[in-house]
Every structure is written in C-alpha cells, then in structure tokens.
C-alpha cells in the first residue's frame, strides 16, 4: 500500500528586481495532502489547472522531495528509501514526449528495462508480453517516429509497465487522443487494475474517464484536497437541488396551472420552467418533488414521453468545489478570484 500523509510542498522562487537585487518568495504548491493507494484500485486525482496534482504526483514518484509530511510505500520511506521505491513505481504521461522517436518500440522498452537493471532473459520475455498486450507486437521494429499518436500512447503504457510496478501514476494518459483510441486505452487501464492488481493514480480532465475507471477520487484545489469520495458521492456534492424533467407528447393547458400549484405548495421556492418548443418541464427544487409531480400527471391524465430525475454530474461538482474557498464562499470566476459571494 502507498500512503501519503500531510504532504506539503513549498517552492522558493527568486525574482530579480534589479541588476543585483533579488527577492525571494514562497509559493505553497501543495498543502497537507493525505491519500492512499491500494492494490487493484484506480484512484482519481482531479482539479483545475494549477491545483497541485502534478506536484503531488512528483512527490509520490520520488522526483520531488516534500517540504513536510511522509510517504510510505510498502513500508519503505519515500525520502530515505527512494532508490528502492523507484523499482516499485512508474509514471505514464499523455502526449508524445518521453519516448525516443528514432528508436523502435522494442528498443525503447529495452533501454528503459536496462535502466531498471532487469535480467536480459526476463526483459526479453516482458517486452514480448507488453508489446502484445498493447497491440504493438507487429510494429515492434518500426521507428516510433512513424507511429500514430495512439500507437505512441500505447507504447507509453508498455514503457510504464516495463519494471512491473505495483504503483502507476498516470498523468492525463488519454490527452489529445480520439474517442475510439481513448476508449481502448481506458480498457488497458481497467485491465491493469482488475486483472494485474496494479494500483493506479490517474489525473485527467476527462470526467467520463473518472466516472468509468475510478473507484475513489480526490479533488484538489489551490494545493489542498477539498473533497474526496466515490465519483457518485462527489457528484452529489455538486448537486444542491433536485431536478425533475417531464417531456409531454402534446401541450396540456390545465396541467401547467395544476403543476405550478402543487409544486409550489410542496416547496415554495421551487422553479418550474416550461420549454414550449420541446414541450418539456424542468422543475428545480431543494426537495424531492417526484411523487407530487407524478400525482399531478396522473390526475390530469397527461400523456408524457419521459419523466425522469436529472442525474448529478461529477463535472459540475468539481467546478463548484474548485470555486469554493475554505470558508464556503464561491468565486465568481476561476481567474482573478477577488470577487466572492456567499
């Protein structure tokens, strides 16, 4: 198990205010972050740009030393036993960097395998298996520069598995890929956790990816974890009101009055919006009004196409959470952040 407790990272930046004058300032990139990764689990690390996700991943992967806090990987200390930990972790990033384009897929994997000191016979078998797993076995001797974006990304996944790591950090692995290839890669990621028991920490801006893959999610903002839970639990946080939708087959004059009266008597501040073009009602309320609405529909014998409650969305929750400060205020915009409302 990988456990990070109270991780903080403060960068000291130097600004030259004159030819010889320099001013040092501190930037707190990550503050008091605690998280856990267990075998076979895919964990999501979400947040808007600059939230501190990459700094957190770099600390977990031993590339950055935390200013305070501790990292424990299978009983090893993140700072003291960094070399041993490096053998048990790996990172997979999105984009086309981090591989050698003039080398073939096989040569890339061989090179990284050698850096991990893997025995040659074992390495050859592993390369064979990984290339087969990511569907590059037939293209293994072609220089990477001739690969498509999707093939390069599949090679990245194989590279990230070359040392058979227990813990994998994935930083936007489907960045810039088309829907079909992204879906295929999500399949690989799922298999890594489910079939091979790898523990994966995934950062992504694609919410669908999180909803499909992640068992547990940490939401970061301004360097700290502002919420955590399963994707469903988090989505509920973003949904403050219940939303009901009713789509009718035809216009129903009497229904509008009865629906308004019934809903407003149940919840005074509810809002009912009629979309004449689509012949649909959207009812927003702090209470669940589904039984009230169903009763009115039956009483008025209204013929409806659809009657459903809107599902809470994780995306809305993250945007909402990211705009709230520690006192519970919401920011009006993501930039500037000087105006806030209760």
């Amino acid at each position: 198990m990988l456990r990070a407790e109270h991780l903080s990272k403060t960068y000291v930046t130097t600004d030259w205010s004159g030819f010889l004058k320099r001013k040092k300032s501190k930037v707190e990139a990550v503050r008091d972050v605690s998280l856990e990764m267990r075998g076979g689990q895919i964990i999501g690390l979400l947040g808007i740009n600059g939230a501190g996700k990459t700094t957190t991943i770099k600390m977990l992967s031993t590339l950055l030393q935390p200013t305070s806090g501790s990292i424990d990987v299978d009983g090893l200390d993140g700072v003291r036993d960094a070399i041993e930990i490096k053998k048990r972790i790996n990172m997979i990033a999105g984009g086309e960097r981090m591989i050698y384009w003039r080398l073939t897929a096989r040569e890339n994997l061989w090179y990284y395998g050698q850096l991990y000191g893997i025995d040659n016979k074992q390495l050859a078998q592993r390369i064979e298996r990984l290339l087969g797993m990511v569907g590059l076995a037939e293209k293994q001797d072609i220089p990477v520069e001739r690969f498509s974006k999707g093939m390069k990304q599949r090679l990245q996944i194989a590279r990230g598995l070359i040392n058979d790591p227990g813990y994998i950090f994935m930083d936007e692995p489907t960045l810039g890929l088309d829907a079909a290839i992204a879906k295929e890669l999500r399949g690989y990621v799922k298999d890594l956790a489910c079939k091979e028991g790898k523990s994966i920490l995934l950062t992504t801006h694609y919410i669908q990816e999180v909803e499909e893959l992640c068992e547990y999610v940490y939401v970061m903002d301004k360097g700290t974890v502002i919420a955590q839970g399963t994707p469903k639990e988090l989505a509920l946080l973003g949904m403050e009101n219940k939303v009901l939708c009713v789509e009718l087959h035809e216009n129903h004059e009497r229904l509008h009055r009865s629906l308004t009266e019934a809903c407003q008597s149940a919840e005074r501040n509810c809002s009912i919006i009629w979309d004449g073009k689509n012949m649909a009602y959207t009812i927003t309320s702090s209470k669940d009004l589904s039984s009230t609405v169903a009763k009115v529909l039956l009483e008025q014998q209204a013929v409806f196409k659809k009657f459903y409650g809107q599902e809470p969305g994780l995306e809305d929750a993250i945007i909402k959470l990211s705009r709230r400060d520690k006192d519970g205020f919401f920011y009006e915009g993501t930039e500037g952040r000087d105006e806030k409302t209760a």
């Binding site: 700094t55 030393q65 490096k86 981090m98 090179y111």
Partner: protein, 271 residues
Amino acid sequence: MGSFMKVLKAEMRKQHKNYFFNKSIYITLFIWPLLTFISAYYCYKPFRLDKIVGGLDYVNESNLVVFVLIGYLSLVFFRCFVQSAWRFSMERTFGTLELIYLTPANRLAFIMGNAVSSLFESIWLFVVFASGIFVLNASAYNIDMLSAMLGIILLIVLSILWGMLLNALFLFSRDSSFLFTVLEEPMEIFAGIKVPAAVFPIWAKAISAVFPLTYIAEMLRRIFIKGDGLVQIKGFVLISILIGFAILSITILCLKLGERHAKKTGSMALF
C-alpha cells in the same frame, strides 16, 4: 558494478541509435574535421616555430603536418563532446530525463554511456585517417611505445571524463547555447591547436591551463615527435591525472547538486 555496466551499455546503444541513425553522418564526421584540420595547419604554417621560446624547438617544416595532426586529433577527442553534450541536454526538454531520474539507474553510468558513445562514434573515422598519415611518416620518428600507450590511454580517459563533465553541465544548465559558445571555439584557440600556446600573453596562457586538452596535446606531441620517454613526460602525466580527478569530482558534485536541486525545486535547471 553489473548494473553500472548495464546502464552504460544501454545508454551507448541508445545514443548510437538516436543520433547516428543516418549513414551520411559519418561523411560529415570526416569532412568537417578534415576541413578544420587544414585550417589549423595553415594557421600554424606562418609561425617560425623553432624561434618560439617555450619548447617548440622540435617542430620543423618536415614534421609540422604530424605536429598539427596530433594536436588536432586530440582536439577532435575533446571537441566531439561539446556537440554531444548539447544534444544530450535535449533529454531535459523532451522529458526523457525525468523518466531516467524516475529509474534507479546509476547517474554516473548514464552520462558516461553518452560520453563513451559520442567519443567512439565521432572520432573513429578521423582516427583512421590520422593513423594513416602517421604511419606514412612513422619511419622518421623514434617513439617510446610505453609512453605512447600511456599517452593514448590518458587521451581516451581524460576526454571521456571531460565529456562526462560537459554532459553534467549541459544537462542542468538553463542556457546550453551559452556553454556551447564558451567551450567550443576557445578550447580550439587556447589549447594550442590552431596557434602555439607559447606565443600567448600571460592571461591567455592562464586560460589554456584550464583545458586538459592543452596538456594532453603537448604530451602526445612530445611522445610522437620528440621521442620523449616516461621520465620526460611524467610532469604531464601527473597533471593529467590530477585534472582527471578534479573533473570527475566536479562531475559527481554537479550530478548530486543537480538532482538535489530538482528534488527541491522541481526544475532540472541548476544554473
């Protein structure tokens, strides 16, 4: 030691595949040094070398080609690293350096692999050419074979150490183009390859003393032209060994400081 050699070999093979992927590179690797050798020869030719105070009395019209060639051959050994180190610094830009630092690989083996690969890739063609010229003139010289072997070993070892230092410097430097300018041309001028170092004023002699190439070139010239033995070159050998240790220490320090800085600030640019 096993894992050190593994990383060393892997890095050599990677660099070979990555930068020497095109056969035409070998043509430029020969033509370019040849042209600069000709330019160095004609730079030396106008000097009355026998009149220069400072020990070039063994050079004359008949051995000038070999004299310049030995100096130039030594330069090729050292200079190939400036370019390869500059290319090596791209590892930081392409993000591969971060992945390498994510592995437990020995950092010294990694930069040594690049240096050794660059050395043998870049110089072998010119070495063949230079050896050919030398063999044609060999009968004119009386060479102490032990000194010659020691001289060549020191040339290879010191140039690899120099390459490792440059790799470490370029790897963690914010402005590698600046280092490129500072290290390439001045080495050629001040190490006595194009112009005899003995004619320099004191300040320029001080600069030439910084480059290990200065000592190696002079030592090899004395061995191969003047016929100096171990006793005569012992001063050069001692200085070369001391410089070698100093270079290795600075390289290790630079690697350690660079990694520590990267862990602290998240930036691979140390200076």
